[in-house]
Amino acid sequence: MNKRSPAFATLQHGLLAAMCVLAVFPLYWMLISSFKNEAEIFTSSLVPMKPIWNNYRYAFEQMPIFRMMFNSFAVAALMTVFQLATSLLAAYALVRWRFRGQTLIFALLSLTWLIPYQSIMIPNYVLVNDMGLNETLIGVVLPFAVSTFAILSLYQSFQSFPRVLIEAACIDGQSDFGILTNLILPNIKSTVASLGIILFLNGWNEYLWPMLITRKMENSPIQIGLKLFVNSDTNMWGSLMAATTVSCIPILLIYIALQRQIVDSFVRYGVK
């Protein structure tokens, strides 16, 4: 791997650069389309000649974009918080104690990987309706308040935590809950943060369930609102791209700011 001919290296970088273009060009095209006027939108020019803001104005008129954005953040953040809370407790119990039924718990956790959401959507939909929670954010979040992926990931991290420290804290008279919050958590902060990022992205990208539960724009995450806009019968590609751009901007900004941590957190959880 150390000896590489310059030609080969160039070829390599060329191919990688091509992959990069493939990865980000659609975003670029979205961005410039959103600034093109009605005459220019149908051309293949790579920069808008006369950039306009009209598309954005129209998109904001047609959709409660800020509201939907808030919904998206609330849904993703709430899912993350619930999933972290439930999985911290569960993973802690699984690492800390040996007890009857542990194998069963593990089996129950692993088995959930096999359940596609489409197989359980109907009963969940009926239940959320019966609880009167459709068109509410909590109705969107509730079925995702626990994540087996989070539990199993944290279980792995907890296992590598030195037992000696836990037992020492025990001797010092720390309560079990105290050990979790005062000893373990501060030490695996970055792990939890990484996991939190993954969970947040998952929540942000959730599609089917929010679509079933929220059908009005003002109650729905931006994704679902955008879908309603996509399906409307007009030739509004400029404003559709404007709306899409707006929907991507927050998550892109977060990604640019936290890029290192995000990539690292995926790398970390890659190790199974």
Partner: protein
Amino acid sequence: MQRWTKGTSLIMAIAAAFGLTACGGPNNDPDGAAAAETPSAASEASASSSLPALDPANPTKVTFYSYSLALPTMKAGMEQLIDEFNETAGKEKGVVVEGVPDATFQQYKADISAGKPVDIVQHAFSTLDSSRLSLGFKAYEDVFPKEELDKHLEGISPNALELGKIDGKMYGLAFTFSTPILFINGKLFEEAGLDPNTPPKTWDEVKKAALQIKEKTGKDGFGLAPNNGWTTEGIILSNGGTILSADRKQVEFAGDKSVEAIRMWQDLYHSGAHAVGSDTEVSEQFMAGNLGMLIQSTSMHSGIKKASEAGGWKVYGAGLPQFGDQPSIPVNSGSVLAVRPDSDIKAAAVWEFVKFVTGNRGYTIITSQIGYLPLRTSLADDPNGLKDFVEANPLYRINLDQLSRIHPVAIWPGEYAAEIATAFTDAIVKSVMTDADVKETLTKAQDDINGMLK
């Protein structure tokens, strides 16, 4: 909305666990309770000679699910219609209508299954029977007083009244409504050496013109998306073919005449001058000025007109093309008002709204602001109604002329309507787009559907 901010959801989740066995028990939806503030608790609305009096001081709330409210080109007009009702007739009689946008005809189903009050739905034709059977929609004759009903229906084109009838009863009153017309891009026509003022009348002429446009301008000559879902039926009927049997017990779209009609389209599609893509995409191509002729519903007129002005060309129009010298038989697209009042007082409130929106003022707004046809055709000559509008938009004349020949779009029988509609459209798409044997493809779909109906 405050609920979740307090972080009580976990408790709620646990509470739900205990309430598990109560699934399917009484529904405690707060919205539902609020809206159902009517005296008769659950008494079935019944046909009576008169409806109970409404109270203007204590108005009855009615929900109206509308796809037009969800579409940018139609939204403003539909909002105007609802607002005007609430401010005039509604205020006077004691009715408040709340519009609910329903882009994909999913919301009303979802809300009915959630137990919310869904009183009036702007309903598609093709699945009306299915909704009647499974979603509790009521026949007009059963919930509204006969005399008032008969009086109100005077002046509406009788062909249009037939559209929402199933087994002799009216389950929907035609509401927003249009026929397909042939939109023409004047500029491309002239560039190809054609005269947009004498548009093609028959399918043969359409094909000739399309090829000429393709040859002279390089742009596609003609577009009709194979998945359009309704115009197809007009093509079949125009050639003397059939869709449904007379008793609506089975489908009959694989007869020789139907097959011949679809073969014509298949040939046109593969001629090299036919636009490709979905219904939306083909319309977008036309609006972008890259398509010579487009068959589309008149409801697209305002959007098309705007696009043509932006693009610097003029729209012309013609009726649905015909086969040889048999006049074409267009079908309608659009919607009916389907109703499901759950009490007499609700029925009275719903009736007020129906009367307003399908009355003279209602249709004036629907036609001039949204773009559908006035079912009270006399409005087109009424100076207080739509006379000026129709004169400014002569394309509407074509549509109004077609009304006399119109045939109802198929209301697919039974509770499998959605599956049937899919199977029919799929077979048409396959026949037109590929070089599959049309007879074989349609016969197979027909047999499958009839198997489903047994």
